[in-house]
Symmetry: C3
Subunit: 355 residues, 3 copies
């Protein structure tokens, strides 16, 4: 089945041309005509598929694809192959080639409402029923999808796109080339309440959210404004759907946050962090660079550079793996202990009798 | 307190009539007039309540309800009862009877915006400020709520309803009789990035989302489009709120996914799966039919048909229960081991001395 | 960096004036001019910062802030201080002083759509592209943000604010002075299906959601309507982002629910509960007053007043802490047991030989 939707479809290429474009090599027939990319299961003889995860080796062997994009040493034989040193980035490049992005035409919908002193760059698109608050600045090529609400005093950098129904609270700053998916809320109040006498008094949240350049944020994710100062998402960070980033968090550049992960207030995370799905960081922590937090893990303490942690509470991943292996066999361990106790008691009894 | 809202309220019935409609039996007075359904705590003498969960047995005994819908062998006596072989589906039927759905009148709001070549079936309703993209097809009786945004090239099957503020990205296909709640985002980009030299390059997501017939999706849930091919939700699946379904997931028919569950990319799940609240499945897995994943569990490995798993990482549920029973008493187990060691050392010492 | 956005900025105060307003004492120069509040890192000599969490003690010492708001016994010396008995509520008060709320001007946007018989209080604001259903009542000073959709037969109490793009399903009742953040969905159908012969039949959800007074609900959180009767959020409860509250839940007053927490259907929670981030409560439970559920914990059983629980399944927090300390060292414990077994076997052998 042909791919669709967010992008158009363009032309046909020879396998050799494709390999050349991505700086890879062909094994097999460089003259094979390729009219598209498809999954291993869907691809036919005129389509290129790919093997970037060894789990799908058998599916690759069984695939009807005319050719396969693979890494070095794939071991596949008798197939037309494009062999790339880094097949996954190469796949990204080929997807762009076959499915070039189709941006909506520049223009402000007559059904959009712009406040006073909105500053529009060149080639801005604002969709129907979008609302832009006063004094907000949209850079060149910005796209604001239908029904999005951008508060006053916001800034959106060049080429940034808000998909339909994104909300930016006032004062939010988004860098260049960011992509914010539908349902995302940036800049809602941080969760701050001062409890006194059993009553919770709201602590005003008067800071802002800042997204640096090249950030992508997945559908229905929320990033709260800081109480004071900033909640900041570092350059090139990629955040999945339904992630929660609390007030005052500072996320270093190039972070990867998978679906339903969460970071509590004021925690600071270094560069190139990876938070796997449904993981969480407690508040007021300091995490170093290159930290990896496994799926479902909960981090309650600071972590040095390069940590790889798992579990609740999170611990070193290898230690966790070993501990879990024992944990699954705890009933047996207890049984062993009981047997030892019985044997020892018997021994003591015997020795007591011997005394 | 009377129920309201999504449905109207119609008439009064005799207890015997109600029993007959659902193929159940009356114990007590079939001539009792019933003017509505209510919870055990709220119901009065002219209302029917229900006992479908034994936990509420005492509340049922204390209820002022004029009559109770129960299963066989409820053991309740001295009450007017409707005894059904399957009381929960029977309750569904009675709720429909007392609260028939009130659909909005067909018609396209003058405040909606439809793109070129939108194909409208009969009796379609499109609410205010909804946006429908070009070439999208809405089947007969489709309802698009206020402020919903449906991208271009989408298809909505007959009688499907989008509640207010749903977003469908371009190319999404929704079957017949589906119900999609507010805030749902279908077809946002899957989370795919190729990391090279510490930078994350977006891998274009050019597949689609397909919902088969009779699917219900809860508020603010997200289902991402596939990189290539489809993310597919099987017929009759019911998905709760704030669930995350990643790109390329295939969910078999009749799945039940409770709140805040998540499924990572490319995982395939067989028929009739149950994922309890806040559970998660890692990516690239194969789960068989009839799998049950307990609340909070995290599945990191393939599962055969009929598996029932719990824990992080998930293991057989009974094994997990036994292991958890020991885990809660680990300090005692360690104490036992230390005592054994001390006793053994003493014994060795004594025997050493004896030698 | 100056704070912005949701609030204006007003004037300059002497340190002594600020202290007087919050009933606190000055140490140092009461005549110091303060023109704003800022974080420890951002504050300069004309700004007041604060130390309410001992973790930031060093940052406080290093701060360039002209003065600091602290609690008693802060031990900071050589600094201008405002010493308050409860510094966090005092900070809330000062934030309000420097950043008074700027409410949007009353008025109904010509781009909003109101149904028949909508009952508007005084000084109501309804933003662009908002939709209000028939017979809905908005109290005095209510604010409905842009693009919000309020169903028919809803009630919003005086001074309640819906931020942009909130959805209220029909029949929802919201008390006075509530604040509902963007993307929240109140009153979507509860997750109720009666399974028979492998098919899931929808159980109509005809109850409602009731929010009592002074409730705040964070971005993209969902609260489902009851099947019958009410889902009720008690007075003064504060709920964070991406929280899921299922049908029929009753939450006592003054609850605190942190990000991504979830409560399954029909569970009742007493007063002043605290659910930390990503925690969950199973359905049909009864929790007493003052219960604390730690981050990531999963409660599967009723809890008495004052419980403080952690873990999956949740257990007494201190027991959990002790158990986790052992759990992390399970491989060592198993090794100990194996050594004991070996020693014991040797001993038995020796003794057997002696016999």
């Amino acid at each position: 089945m042909a791919a669709v939707a967010e992008s158009g479809m363009s032309g046909t290429f020879l396998l050799g041309e494709l390999a050349e474009r991505i700086g890879a090599e062909v094994q097999g027939d460089p003259g094979l005509r390729i009219d598209g990319l498809a999954t291993l299961g869907d691809a036919g003889p005129a389509q290129l598929s790919f093997l970037t995860n060894p789990k799908y080796r058998k599916a690759a062997e069984a695939s009807r694809a005319g050719a396969l994009l693979v890494g070095q040493g794939s071991g596949l034989s008798g197939r037309n192959l494009i062999v790339a040193s880094e097949p996954y980035p190469a796949l990204a490049e080929l997807l762009e080639l076959f499915h070039p992005t189709v941006a909506p035409a520049p223009g402000i919908s007559p059904d959009a409402r712009l406040g006073d002193d909105v500053d529009l760059g060149r080639d801005v698109h604002v969709g129907a029923f979008a609302v832009i608050g006063e004094r907000t600045r949209l850079g060149d090529g910005v796209i604001v999808g239908a029904g999005a609400v951008v508060g006053r005093d916001c800034e959106l950098g060049d080429q940034t796109e808000l998909k339909p129904r994104v909300v930016l609270y006032p004062g939010t700053r988004v860098g260049q080339r960011c992509l914010i998916h539908s349902g995302v809320v940036l800049g809602a109040d941080g969760y701050g309440f001062a409890t006194s006498g059993g009553e919770h008094r709201k602590v005003p949240q008067v800071g802002r959210v800042v997204l640096e350049d090249d950030v992508e944020i997945g559908a229905n994710t929320t990033v709260d404004r800081a109480m004071l100062g900033e909640t900041r998402i570092g350059r090139g960070s990629k955040i999945d759907n339904l992630v929660m980033i609390a007030h005052g968090v500072h996320l270093g550049p190039s972070a990867l946050l998978a679906g339903q992960a969460g970071i509590a207030g004021s925690t600071r995370v270094g560069a190139r962090a990876t938070l796997a799905g449904q993981s969480g960081l407690a508040g007021h922590l300091e995490l170093g660079d290159g930290v990896i937090v496994a799926a479902k893990a909960a981090v309650f303490a600071d972590l040095p550079d390069g940590s790889f942690v798992s579990g609740i509470p999170a611990m070193d991943h290898r230690r966790w793996k070993r501990a879990q292996a024992v944990a699954a066999r705890l009933p047996e361990l207890r049984k062993d202990v009981r047997e030892l106790r019985a044997k020892l008691a018997e021994l003591e009894k015997r020795l007591g009798a011997e005394d």
